[in-house]
């Protein structure tokens, strides 16, 4: 059974223009009823389980957008509705800079949360406004300082590159500011314009001044340099950590291991099946009130699909993946399962195979999708 848990809190006090996650404006939402339902889902999902959790990640939405009392209830549920939290566990909660008040930080700390992931995105005040976020750059810096004051030693910040009108110099400033804050972890995501967002609608209307592929690539490469100089170690396509502080929870995903997910629109992976929960909050709640698991769909992966995912997830790690792990899991070598792929991609300069490990090259990292599709079967199943 899985020893990792993801919880989705789909409420936000403002909706960012780029975000297409399952999220709802928090005003007038039945947050308490939602937490009741969440407690019930956890109880069902962990029935009969005894092994305590090793990694927990509460994401959103904005988990910090709920009241301090509600936050306490959610955290409490993690302890009592599951087999419990292992003493050495990694326990992460996402929060927005403007929510980092003493009460909430105190509640988080008291419930054993030991890692905060703060949504900063950029330290450029003009850009923060243009992406629809409700805080300032100084809010973000203060949030980090306050979290440190509460003895959170493992603090991660999220950044975004390739935002509309973002210049290289603005990005550079953001990276320098982030480095100077002396956090232990940075996640940096390139903007992708997703459907059903304000950005998408502006973009379709030709009104979003997006950066070019080359500018985004330049920003990515600049980031690798600046963060390396600041003592960060890149361990995944979008993730950087100071020594030993790589996110254990995210590595569960990349290593293609199991995890429980709970909450509206959450995605879990259990016994080779990927499931997705119902997204709308009222439907999620009523499913649970009717005594049903709130799943929207569940797909049992074939062995072939598991092998494919093993590759396109595992290769995201900078260290790559040990070929022997694949062979132990599937009783077949990578070379046999994907004839010709390693040679072809190595010849293109996108992969290296060394000492029994296969990994993306520096060039291959920016072209990850070109590599990953080579490990998918030809037939389109969707």
């Amino acid at each position: 059974m899985a020893r990792s848990l993801y919880i989705h809190i789909p409420f936000c006090s403002y909706i960012c223009y780029y975000c297409d996650f399952n999220k709802f404006f928090i005003e007038n939402q039945p947050v308490d009823a939602y937490i009741d339902a969440l407690e019930q889902e956890l109880t069902w999902r962990f029935a009969g389980e005894t092994a305590p959790l090793e990694t927990i990640y509460i994401g959103g939405g904005t988990p910090s957008a709920v009241t301090t009392a509600q936050l306490g209830r959610i955290l409490q549920a993690v302890h009592v509705k599951t087999p419990g939290v292992s003493p050495g566990a990694e326990f992460t909660v996402e929060m927005n800079p403007d929510d980092a008040d003493d009460d909430k930080l105190h509640t988080l700390f008291n419930h054993g949360v030991n890692r905060l992931s703060i949504g900063v995105q950029t330290f450029d005040d003009k850009l923060i406004q243009k992406i629809g976020r409700g805080h300032t750059a100084s809010d973000a810096k203060n949030a980090v300082h306050r979290a440190k004051a509460f003895n959170f030693s493992n603090i991660s910040i999220d950044l975004m590159l390739g935002l509309p009108e973002q210049t290289m110099s603005s990005w550079h400033d953001t990276l320098q500011t982030a480095a100077a804050l002396d956090v232990s972890h940075i996640s940096a995501y390139a903007l992708k314009i997703e459907e059903k967002t304000r950005f998408y609608n502006w973009w379709r209307a030709g009104k979003l001044p997006t950066v070019t592929e080359d500018e985004a690539a330049d920003m990515y490469e600049a980031m690798e340099r600046v963060l390396a100089d600041a003592g960060f170690h890149q361990y995944e396509i979008s993730n950087f950590a100071k020594d030993g502080q790589a996110s254990r929870h995210n590595q569960v995903y990349w290593h293609n291991e199991s995890y429980v997910a709970a909450g509206a629109g959450a995605h879990g992976y259990l016994q080779g099946a990927r499931y997705e929960n119902i997204q709308p909050v009222p439907h999620y709640i009523s499913a649970i009130e009717n005594g049903e698991l709130p799943e929207r769909q569940r797909h049992q992966l074939s062995r072939r699909e598991q092998m494919e995912e093993e590759m396109f997830l595992g290769l995201r790690m900078n260290e790559g993946m040990p070929l022997v792990r694949f062979e132990q899991k599937y009783g077949e070598t990578v070379a046999d399962a994907f004839p010709g792929a390693l040679e072809e991609l190595t010849a293109k300069g996108w992969l290296t195979v060394e000492n029994g490990w296969v990994a993306l090259t520096e060039e291959g990292r920016l072209l990850g999708n070109e590599v990953f599709v080579r490990f998918l079967e030809n037939e389109n199943k969707f």
Binding site: Y253, E276, E370, V373
Partner: protein
């Protein structure tokens, strides 16, 4: 039935067609007539009964002809037999229109009460007048608040020169005028001439292929009679068959003992290919043939050609089967195998026009499930070589070297554009830009103008109609007829990707427009072809001279960064979409080229307007 009875019956037959512009309500009116004469019960009346193909119903147009026999008890107490022959409204099918008109004695001219006469209607009315048809004007949609029947009447008199004193005001939507229309048909449309005792002359005005019965030939009996078991001969193709069934459409085919002078119905005779019963041919008895075939037969000749290739090379055989099956049903479709370096094995297909081309492509994709790559359409060019030889070219890549060519001729059409006078300027600008030669301009009424230009067919095949529509806010209507060939300064322009010439992208262009077109094509290709692992130069050249160039930069970034809260299915879907995109691309040398790129020559002008 005695000879006298047959004559009596002949006196009470009325054969008529309906002429109308798209959307002016032809199909709805046909439905009302079927309903009123109880030919089709209201319960069975699907909207637009006569447009049987799905495609026709979706597009609201008639592609294949249909006809129906109706019984009508007139005010004079007699029962009349009507044959309603539906006509396609599109210029691509004007020969079929002319044959179906030849099967009638009268026609209803339907004109929209607010929009007035449109170019296609005009062309068809003149065709009907050439065939001496009695024309009954019907002004439709008089229920609309914007209806102006008096103005439209005046327009019909001015433009066509018809007497409109007996014009019927109708609303096919609510049934107004239907009864009056039927009475006018009885009174004004002449009964068929001809003699039952003369040798058989039956005009084929359409045919379709049925997998059980073979070809079903739609005929109008002009002289004599025809029965099951008789030996018949097609006078143009000289093929002979034995009649296995005759019948009429009610509107579903129903067997009959005999078809006699004036009747409109069908014949089956175990004919395996529609090519053996060509539209316009005359059916006669093999043992007692008519002295001469009916006039007006033409072999339908394709005017527009393009390369048609399966996306998946394994579907080549399937594509050939599909084309063979469609050809059974459509004698104007031509195809021959061709090989392209870029696209592999496929077919060069000939069509009557652009709509015909689109319809065939859509039917192949829909009915046979074969994804296609098509090249930009081309017309037939007459190429005069220095050594005196003359060749016909309908594939630009077969154009001989510039040095061998003395002259090139291209087909020209006479185009009528009808437009509100506010748009005269834009229309003339487009025609001018398309190398048109102004011929005439006439005011139809205070507001509407008919502009006549001679235009190269190639330009029409490109994007003339789209431009016309977008620059006149959809108000322009347009029709053309082929005039013949004229010499033009035409050259072949090649496109090179990564230094390699791509045969499927070659086009024939006018020398004065080569630079502009070349520039537009290379820019469009730059936009359509995704960035590759290496930089790809895109060039347009005439002979060895490069006239335009763009560069597709090497790909630098394609990776999903977000974690999506462990939503791996979503990552997988995105990757599979990319994979599917790659699968649908063609490898041209080392460059992966998407399907749309092969049609890029067509899209460039439309794109210019967007930007």
């Amino acid at each position: 039935m005695s000879s006298e009875d047959k004559h009596q019956r002949q006196e009470r037959i009325r054969n008529f067609a309906i002429i109308a512009h798209i959307d002016h309500g032809k199909s709805t009116l046909a439905d009302r007539i079927l309903e009123h004469t109880k030919t089709v019960s209201e319960r069975d009346l699907q909207e637009q009964t006569l447009d049987a193909m799905d495609l026709e119903r979706e597009r609201g147009i008639t592609i294949k002809l249909n006809s129906a026999q109706l019984k009508y008890e007139a005010a004079d107490g007699e029962e009349y037999t009507f044959h309603l022959i539906d006509t396609p409204g599109h210029v691509d099918f004007s020969y079929e229109v002319s044959r179906s008109l030849a099967a009638c004695e009268g026609a209803l001219l339907i004109v929209d009460a607010s929009q007035g006469i449109e170019a296609q209607t005009l062309a068809n009315v003149f065709l009907a007048l050439e065939h001496d048809l009695e024309i009954i004007p019907v002004i439709n949609k008089i229920d609309l608040p914007s209806a102006e029947p008096e103005r439209i009447k005046k327009e019909i008199e001015d433009v066509i020169g018809l007497d409109t004193s007996e014009t019927i005001l109708a609303s096919a939507k609510d049934g107004t005028g239907t009864e009056e229309i039927l009475e006018h048909i009885v009174k004004r449309v002449p009964a068929p001439q001809g003699n039952v005792n003369e040798p058989l002359e039956a005009l084929i005005f359409d045919s379709l292929y049925d997998s059980y019965r073979g070809v079903i030939a739609y005929v109008r009996i002009v002289q004599g009679t025809i029965k099951k078991g008789e030996k018949i001969r097609m006078m143009q193709t000289e093929k002979e068959f034995e009649v296995s069934e005759v019948g009429v459409f009610k509107p579903n085919p129903v067997s009959a003992d005999e078809l006699s002078v004036g009747d409109v119905g069908f014949i089956t005779a175990s004919i395996k290919n529609v090519g053996d019963s060509r539209v316009g041919d005359t059916v006669t008895h093999a043992n007692a043939p008519a002295p001469a075939p009916l006039p007006g037969y033409q072999r339908m000749k394709p005017m527009v050609f393009c390369g048609v290739y399966p996306v998946d090379p394994n579907q080549y055989t399937g594509l050939r089967d599909a084309l063979e099956r469609l050809e059974l049903n459509d004698s104007s479709l031509e195809f021959e195998a061709e090989v392209s370096q870029a696209l592999g094995f496929g077919f060069r297909c000939g069509f009557l026009g652009l709509l015909h081309m689109e319809i065939i492509q859509e039917r192949i994709e829909r009915e046979y499930g074969i994804e296609l790559i098509t090249t930009a359409p081309s017309v037939i060019y007459n190429v005069y070589l220095n050594d005196g030889e003359v060749i016909e070219i309908h594939n630009p890549s077969n154009m001989p070297d510039q040095q061998q060519v003395m002259a090139v001729e291209e087909p020209f059409v006479k185009a009528n554009v009808m437009v509100p006078n506010d748009f005269v300027g834009p229309v003339m600008e487009i025609c001018q830009a398309k190398r048109g030669e102004f011929q005439d301009m006439k005011y139809l009424d205070e507001n509407r103008v008919n502009i006549v230009y001679d235009l190269p067919l190639t330009e029409i095949v490109y994007d003339f109609f789209d431009q016309l529509k977008s620059n006149t806010r959809g108000y322009a209507s347009f029709d053309y007829e082929l005039m013949g060939y004229k010499e033009s300064k035409l050259v072949k322009m090649d496109i090179l990707l990564n230094g390699e010439q791509v045969d499927a992208l070659s086009v024939i262009v006018h020398r004065d427009m080569a630079y502009y077109r070349g520039k537009a094509i290379v820019e469009k290709l730059k936009e359509l072809i995704p960035r590759q692992q290496f930089e790809v130069p895109v060039q347009a050249s005439i002979g060895n001279k490069v006239i335009a160039r763009s560069t597709i930069k090497a790909i630098r970034k394609n990776v999903l960064s977000k974690c999506y809260g462990g939503d791996v299915s979503r990552k997988r879907k995105l990757l599979e979409k990319q994979k599917e995109g790659k699968r649908r691309m063609k490898n041209v040398g080392k460059v992966e080229v998407p399907q749309e790129a092969f049609m890029s020559v067509l899209q460039m002008d439309a794109n210019k307007e967007d930007s």
